[in-house]
Subunit: 406 residues, 2 copies
């Protein structure tokens, strides 16, 4: 292994292999009528440095309020307890008390300070947590904590995801082998009162707190903040990075020679998990990469890409195979990006559908073949500057409406 | 008739009765494969003062570019020629030439100056107008122009609307009876390459050009700009007011004693037509009035109302009868409006579902009865100020996806 070699993309294993010093567990506490796993716990044997990002929604779950305070304060965490089925959002002061009680119960069962436990909820908005089920659930989780419990935890955090989402990468820091493992939930859409994307990144490397925080924000911005399924933003979205230093390396920071390897693994896993959320999007039949280039600025590129990825008309058109580029032109035109209609160029994979704002040489039959694929890239070149942005999204199908109407 | 009495709402007849000095016609020119009417002409025997509003989309149909120039210039129009089936958008310089040629052909056939003809297209984006069909269509329209042709014109402008949309109101100006008649198309959604809302307001009253322009802008802002079906904005949206002065009154302006009656009729018809577009929305099964009050500003109220009305999750939830107020809280929270979660109050018709940001007294059964109706009002009170705004919208059904995917 060449620790400084970041030219090769990190290898990601689709497994939840816990880094040293971490234990985890999953449990069925009866919060879901189906009896499916609905709780998980992640525990570090030593306090871990923690970085986190939370939803920008002004309506925030009680758990988000509690965690944000704890992360901004001490910035250390021993564990995270998670329930699915009930979001503990729009539950007022009682909800805040429930969140604190849930963390305290988990801390007591694992013998650590209550302020060192974080707590996440995901599920229906507006109902109180069923603490009578959650307390025994925590008891079971604490008893089951194991270095081999990663896969169980990855299942315990799911709601309507059709499959667990977790990846493990290895890298070296000061010659010591380290792991970065992440598990996440979210099928790219906010569900009917099942609002949430949650992600937990765990590493046994020591990472400087400030460096961890800025690297994590950057990784989230380039991944989870680059996916769009229905344009709605949840009350519970949370992502955490816990670095417990069990590997014994000198803390990683940008000046450390092994920083690039860590950062590359962080970015690669975040992007892979984000794409998995879109691929597992409710009712989604196609994965579409929307790339905008040639914009007057990066912000313009992002605005144009998001307008395309959030347009109900564009997304419904992708269900079929007719290259409805008029809708793409329309969405770009009403975005906040500067657009000169007679400069716009549009490609479906390598085929040029629009040049100078009007139909180009690609035939309808050729474009239909691209659109018939499960995955394709839509590229829009505004020819106004050097700004570029990429957003990952999916189609909106009848199945999406069917699932969300009830 | 009491011309100054604006306390009573104007009476609107669902008919296209043309005001004096106007003639109109509809025709089937073969632009639609179905053979349905696809062209219309409106003609004033004398040049009419014209006010207009156009799409804010940066990608604009050729017709929009041509008309905007003519309205801003002389501000007079003799006639408008309209085709449906082909949008003449994203057609480049050739499209501009086609639009000018279409206006010139119509002007030649009616014997007026070409610069006094306006032209509208609606239909598929990105294909050239079939001028070989449009020219004979114009010939037929010019030959058929009649004071009784309003209903034919109202049908000729439709695309996938299920019914014509037109209303006539009467008022008095200087003791002379006047009519305001409007015809429109648009079923509240931008269609698959069938993008457009078009509206034509005609009156035989004389109206001061500047007063007409500001009153028309205000009426459009409170009606067509207050509806939301899928959040997309077309390349072709256009609305016109033609006032030909055939009634012989002194020009109406705000200082004229009969101005309020004219303005009330204008606003009432615009709002009624806008609501008709939502009711006729593609696949729509419910008409929902979203009213936000208590916002820190009017702009905040509008932002919150639009976030609700544009949320795919909120709109799909309305297909069913479960009061999914968590999604409403979520949408309000991510809008640009200032929100204090613990102050938010939500009502479905008269029933309070949320108070202080948490579940209120209304039962799920009672709320389901409200949601089972074809029309209901969702009211959100932010309790932060006096800003308010209302938006009219509909649900997103599986039928919507079915129609738009092909």
């Amino acid at each position: 292994m060449k620790p400084n070699d970041t030219s090769a993309a990190p290898v990601l294993r689709p497994r939840c292999v816990l880094p040293r010093g971490f234990r985890a567990a999953g449990a069925s506490a009866g919060l879901k009528a189906s009896g499916a796993p609905d709780m998980a716990m992640i525990f570090s044997d030593r306090p871990a440095t923690v970085a986190a990002t939370f939803t920008a929604n002004q309506v925030k779950a009680a758990t988000v309020r509690l965690d944000a305070e704890r992360v901004a304060g001490l910035g250390l965490a021993h564990g995270i307890v998670v329930n699915s089925g009930q979001a503990n959002a729009c539950t007022g002061k009682a909800g805040l008390r429930d969140a604190a009680a849930m963390a305290a119960w988990a801390a007591a069962r694992t013998g650590v300070d209550p302020s060192l436990f974080l707590v996440c909820s995901t599920g229906r908005i507006g109902i109180r947590l069923d603490m009578a089920k959650i307390r025994p659930g925590i008891d079971a989780l604490a008893a089951a904590l194991s270095p081999a419990g990663g896969e169980d935890a990855a299942r315990g955090i799911l709601t309507t995801d059709t499959r667990p989402k977790r990846f493990t990468a290895v890298f070296a820091a000061d010659g010591r082998p380290c792991r970065l493992t992440a598990l996440a939930k979210g099928s790219g859409m906010i569900r009917p009162n099942m609002a949430t994307m949650l992600a937990f990144f765990l590493t046994d490397a020591a990472v400087d707190r400030r460096a961890a925080s800025s690297a994590f924000r950057a990784a989230v911005a380039a991944s989870f903040n680059r996916i769009s399924v229905d344009g709605d933003q949840s009350t519970n979205d949370s992502a955490f990075l816990l670095a417990n230093g069990a590997a014994g390396n000198r803390p990683l920071r940008p000046s450390h020679p092994d920083w690039p390897a860590f950062e590359a693994a962080l970015r690669a896993i975040a992007l892979r998990l984000a794409k998995e959320m879109v691929r597992d999007g409710e009712g989604a039949s196609k994965f579409v990469t929307v790339a905008v280039r040639g914009a007057a600025s990066a912000a313009d590129a992002e605005s144009a890409a998001r307008a395309i990825a959030n347009s109900a008309l564009v997304k419904t058109s992708w269900v079929g195979t007719y290259p409805n580029w008029g809708r793409v032109m329309d969405a770009v035109g009403y975005s906040s990006a500067r657009v000169k209609e007679d400069k716009v160029e549009i490609f479906y994979d390598g085929l040029r559908a629009v040049r100078g704002g009007v139909r180009a040489e690609a035939t309808g039959a050729a474009l239909s073949k691209v659109l018939a694929q499960k995955e394709f890239t839509l590229t829009v070149d505004l020819h106004l500057g050097r700004g570029s942005a990429t957003v990952y999204t999916c189609d909106i199908t009848e199945e999406y409406v069917r699932i969300n109407k009830d």
